[in-house]
């Protein structure tokens, strides 16, 4: 049975939206955040309507049911990336996950002379937290170069990786170029030097199967809202022994063992890192999103997106005035480009008026744009619910841009 994109689209009410009067919405901005299937919104509403209660705190029936449902999602998330349950820390998004590791692991383990290796293609979320902790500890952030085609410069990586490197924090998949980084090689090389590796898998979990055990990665972070799930919920995976050796991040309820003014002690992971009332309903929604993805099949989604990417790349190549950024063979369906020498904003404005929703600017990756020598780019991204007709819509929109921008 083939991939039934019409049946999938029918599960996303937003895709029925008309904009600017009667223009059907062509949503190509899923790399920023994905639309939500009915299964997710329904799971959240049902939970709020029937089972809602705070978790971990009550002995009454509702609290028990809510806690069971909440913790069951931890198991589901663990299964989704082949981790153990107690290695799954719920966060509010990728950004918090990286900050958590930077602050908690970093404050304990970084000193002057130590180095944190990132890359030129990182999202700001995987740069700024390291800059902040580097400033606090005297460690140094170094960035591995990116080649013209959007691949990581592995020579530069090996040149910069050394005994001073304590942490290698890299994107699994670039949110601008779509490049899939050779993370297996990166992890092996880093471990050989005694460095830990954190993978920013925000754009990876949505496009491929991620297996933390096979990768032997130390930390891996992602965010629910890009995986067709709710906002306000993210995931940090950490190897248990690493988590167990880390001091708390935020202090408050639920993460403590005992509190007194003489001294407070903390619980074991993952709870030590989950202070306060968690995003309970959003966790339930994340569970529904994983179920949804697994039902369609992440591999099926990936294959469908790869087809759309090929189709789009071919069409854009045929147009001589389009420059695509990120042309490695290992590339997911995130497509940054420029039309002629037109500013991305002007292109984006016109496309928007034709019904095509995509993102223009620097996509929270300013250093990458500096590296590419462009000020901003137009980014189209394809998700499970996009179709070839959406790609055609983009190309039609580009024709309008040519007409109006001259």
């Amino acid at each position: 049975m083939g991939y039934d994109v019409a049946a999938i689209r029918a599960q996303f009410p937003t895709l029925e939206r008309k904009i600017y009067g009667n223009k059907p919405l062509i949503f190509l901005d899923s790399a920023a955040s994905a639309q939500k299937p009915r299964a997710v919104t329904a799971a959240m509403t049902d939970f709020m309507d029937t089972t809602y209660s705070n978790v971990h705190r009550g002995i009454h029936a509702l609290s028990q049911e809510a806690t069971d449902a909440f913790e069951a999602v931890r198991g589901k998330v663990a299964g989704f990336m082949n981790a153990d349950e107690r290695e799954v820390v719920f966060t509010k998004n990728t950004t918090e996950g990286i900050n958590l590791v930077a602050q908690s692991w970093g404050r304990k383990n970084l000193s002057p002379g130590d180095e944190i290796l990132v890359t030129e293609l990182e999202h700001h979320a995987n740069i700024v937290p390291w800059q902040l902790i580097a400033e606090a500890t005297g460690a140094k952030v170094r960035a591995v170069a990116v080649l013209d085609d959007g691949a990581l410069d592995m020579d530069d990586f090996h040149a910069k990786l050394g005994p001073s490197t304590k942490m290698v924090a890299v994107a699994y998949v670039s949110n601008v170029l779509g490049t899939v980084l050779p993370v297996e090689d990166i992890i092996k090389a880093a471990h050989a030097q005694g460095a830990l590796v954190l993978l920013d898998a925000s754009q990876a979990v949505t496009h491929r199967r991620v297996d933390v055990k096979a990768l032997d990665v130390d930390f891996l972070v992602w965010t629910g809202h890009k995986l067709y799930g709710p906002t306000g919920i993210g995931v940090l995976f950490g190897k248990y022994d690493l988590l167990d050796a880390m001091p708390p991040f935020l202090g408050g309820g639920d993460m403590i063992d005992t509190v007194s003014f003489q001294g407070t002690t903390f619980r074991e992971p993952p709870y030590r890192f989950e202070a306060g009332t968690p995003a309970i309903v959003e966790t339930i929604g994340l569970g529904a999103a994983i179920d949804w993805v697994e039902t369609v099949g992440i591999e099926a989604i990936a294959a469908h997106e790869a087809d759309l990417l090929d189709y789009a790349m071919d069409q854009l190549a045929a147009a001589n005035d389009v420059t695509v950024f990120g042309t490695t063979p290992t590339k997911v369906s995130v497509l940054a480009f420029l039309l002629g020498d037109h500013h991305a904003h002007d292109v984006g404005t016109i496309l928007d008026r034709t019904g095509v929703a995509l993102r223009v600017g620097q996509h929270c990756a300013e250093p990458l744009h500096t590296r590419l020598g462009v000020h901003s780019t137009v980014r189209a991204s394809f998700a499970a619910y996009n179709s070839r007709a959406d790609v055609d819509g983009l190309l039609d929109g580009l024709s309008v841009c040519r007409e109006l921008l001259g």
Partner: protein, 157 residues
Amino acid sequence: MDAETRTLFESRLLSLAKARAREGRLPEATHTGAVKNPFCGDEIAVDVKLSAQGAVVDLGYEAKACSLCVASAELLSDWIDQVYSQAQSQEGGSPAPLQPEDLHALAQAIDDVLKGGNAPAPDGFEALVSVAPFRARHKCVTLPFDAAIKALEDKQT
């Protein structure tokens, strides 16, 4: 394509932006202001050279920015030039000093136009009316004003 979009992109804004006639930094600027739109990363720096009396001697800008931002900077340069330097000196009087308040008032008037108020656009800025329906682009237009105000509020460089 809808009429609003056509009007915007067929306005003189686009040709102004292509020409970039007035772009350039002033090596001898007395005041400088740089601002950035963090949403898109667009940046503009405005340089002003004032005489001891506060009259505009020269002005320039540099922008890594979209067409609307550049066009707006061009219109602003024109306006300052017209109103505060050449125009006045041609009449033989001493040039009027450029005050931050003047720019604030102008920026406010432009803002009203963008927000779709009924007030007519200030002289020379009529083309900006076509940006009004494009809310996400208003900031592109106001960025040069922010930079210029910042420049004037800055102490001498």
